[in-house]
């Protein structure tokens, strides 16, 4: 690992000041489960690190609000996964947390850090000699002609088809979450849907934060669709693996069993958290049946652009969405 200068901040404002002082290459360290791992691989080589894992004003979360749920960016995944209100009224959010990683990692990893978790593309993590435009802009993309089983069906470009690996952001994007950030220019908010970038010609740019900005909070508008929600994650093994495909579904049912509000997002198959409005449109106003759930799944994957080894995810994903619709509808019916 390359040497780095370490500083630790006690408040969010201190962290922003320390980050500005440490220069443009400096990185924020929270749980460390992504950054420190990539530093060991020398994929990340920051000359300076600002540690925010003990920033008290980022650590809390409050799910009791009438208008919104508020999550400090420094709250630990394991703690939020156990929250009683969230388990009862937003099962998709808790499932997206406890089905991610292992309990050890969830005890360390923070909600804010998790949003910016970096890709698991083996050519990115593998370092030299693999070409990777994300790691080394202009070097090419080894996945395009390589083993692309784990790569994206949506949002890819000729430069990069690396999958965004997170579960939490996939569930959050279905709930229209907002992100609060603090930076040298002050505080601002943005929709989570605008936090991540598609790779385009610049896959090294993964998010829309300005230099020196820190995520402070994640806010989720309160919605009755929370109770009728599910996060279904399909993996190569039953637990402790990244998603082959996942689906976040949240819906309400009206008096005669037809779908009212409907939100659907898919994970493990796209270059950023991926909401699928066409699937929502297909289901809205329909009773939940085998056929309507299947139609939602087909709509979700209609625009898929598979490579050489990942076309199986179209049928797998279609069924995953359909199953998640049934799970969510079962919960909505109570």
């Amino acid at each position: 690992m390359r040497p780095f200068a370490y500083t630790t901040a006690a408040t969010a404002a201190e962290a922003v000041d320390a980050l500005a002082a440490a220069g443009p290459q400096a990185r924020l360290l929270a749980g460390g489960t992504t950054l420190y791992d990539l530093m060991k691989l020398e994929i990340e080589t920051p000359p300076a690190v600002v540690d925010v894992h003990r920033v008290a004003d980022l650590a809390g979360f409050d799910t009791s609000g009438e208008r919104e749920l508020v999550f400090g960016a420094g709250a630990r995944m394991a703690d939020v996964a156990e929250d009683g209100r969230l388990r009862r009224d937003y099962p998709a959010l808790t499932e997206s947390l406890w089905r991610a990683a292992s309990q050890q990692l969830r005890n360390m990893a923070t909600l804010g850090g998790n949003l910016l978790q970096r890709t698991r593309c083996p050519y990115f993590r593998g370092g030299e000699p693999f070409a990777c435009n994300k790691r080394s802009p202009g070097s090419g993309c080894a996945a395009q002609e390589g083993l692309d089983r784990s790569h994206a069906l949506f949002g890819g470009s000729e430069s990069c088809i690396a999958v965004y690996p997170g579960d939490w952001a996939t569930a959050l994007v279905a709930f229209d979450a907002e992100v609060d950030v603090l930076g040298p220019g002050g505080a601002r908010s943005l929709p989570l849907a605008r936090l991540h970038r598609e790779p385009g010609e610049t896959p090294q740019l993964e998010h829309t934060l300005e230099p020196g900005e820190l995520i402070t909070r994640i806010r989720v508008p309160v919605t009755p669709a929370g109770r009728g929600s599910a996060y279904l994650k399909i993996r190569d093994r039953e637990s402790y693996a990244f998603a082959l495909v996942s689906a976040a579904v949240a819906l309400t049912l009206d008096g005669d069993g037809r779908v009212g509000d409907c939100r659907i997002a898919v994970g493990g198959v796209a270059t950023r958290p991926w909401r699928v409005p066409a699937a929502e449109q297909a289901l809205r106003g329909q009773p939940v049946t085998e056929a309507s759930a299947r139609a939602a799944g087909e709509a979700a994957f209609a625009g898929a652009r598979p490579g050489r080894h990942n076309a199986f995810k179209i049928e797998l994903g279609t069924r995953t969405v359909a199953d998640a619709v049934h799970l969510a509808a079962g919960r909505a019916a109570g």
């Binding site: 690992m1 390359r2 040497p3 780095f4 200068a5 370490y6 500083t7 630790t8 901040a9 006690a10 408040t11 201190e14 962290a15 000041d17 320390a18 440490a22 360290l29 460390g32 489960t33 420190y36 791992d37 530093m39 060991k40 691989l41 300076a48 690190v49 600002v50 540690d51 894992h53 394991a78 406890w98 990683a101 292992s102 309990q103 050890q104 990692l105 005890n107 360390m108 039953e238 637990s239 402790y240």
Partner: protein, 164 residues
């Protein structure tokens, strides 16, 4: 108040298995390397060194973490417990250690210190209610010998002793 001065080495105090420790660490150093290479605490094992196998699991202020992905600088002021800290003063095994023997929950033993620390946390968290829950909440600890059936049985046996 401001953030600490940037530094490449940091002096820190913590407790390891109840013993006070005062060390100067390189900011790159992991808790696992600090324990094994400098403090002689070799219960936590270096399996993958990337947070994927769980062999290095320890408790940090009572919570299980992987020590390979914990920068040593982050344990300033913390209590660290490893498998060495479990046995009684006269060497009497912790009930979960005994249960691992009774249920054949190991073969080569390399993953065992991590399994036991994870199993203890699993019990304390209330995640040992049935076999499926144990499998889910122990999934961060790999066993290449495949002693999983015995590991689940050992954790469940202690859960039942404790009335969980």
């Amino acid at each position: 108040m401001a953030a600490t001065e940037p530094a490449y080495e940091v002096e820190l105090s913590c407790a390891v298995n109840g013993e006070p420790v005062h060390v100067r660490v390189d900011t790159r150093e992991s808790l696992l390397d600090l324990l094994r290479e400098r403090l002689g605490v070799t219960g936590p094992k270096k399996g993958c060194d990337h947070g994927q196998c769980g062999a290095c699991t320890v408790h940090l202020d009572g919570r299980r973490v992987v020590s390979c992905l914990t920068p040593a600088v982050q344990v300033a002021g913390a209590d660290v417990t490893t498998v060495e800290g479990l046995a009684g003063p006269d060497g009497e095994l912790h009930p979960l250690q005994q249960a691992f023997i009774d249920h054949d929950a190991l073969q080569c033993g390399y993953c065992t210190p991590g399994q036991i620390m994870s199993g203890l946390a699993c019990l304390a968290e209330g995640h040992a209610g049935d076999d499926d829950q144990v499998r889910e909440y122990m999934s961060g600890n790999l066993c290449r010998c495949g002693a999983y059936a015995g590991i689940v049985a050992a954790v469940r046996a202690v859960a039942e002793q404790q009335g969980r």
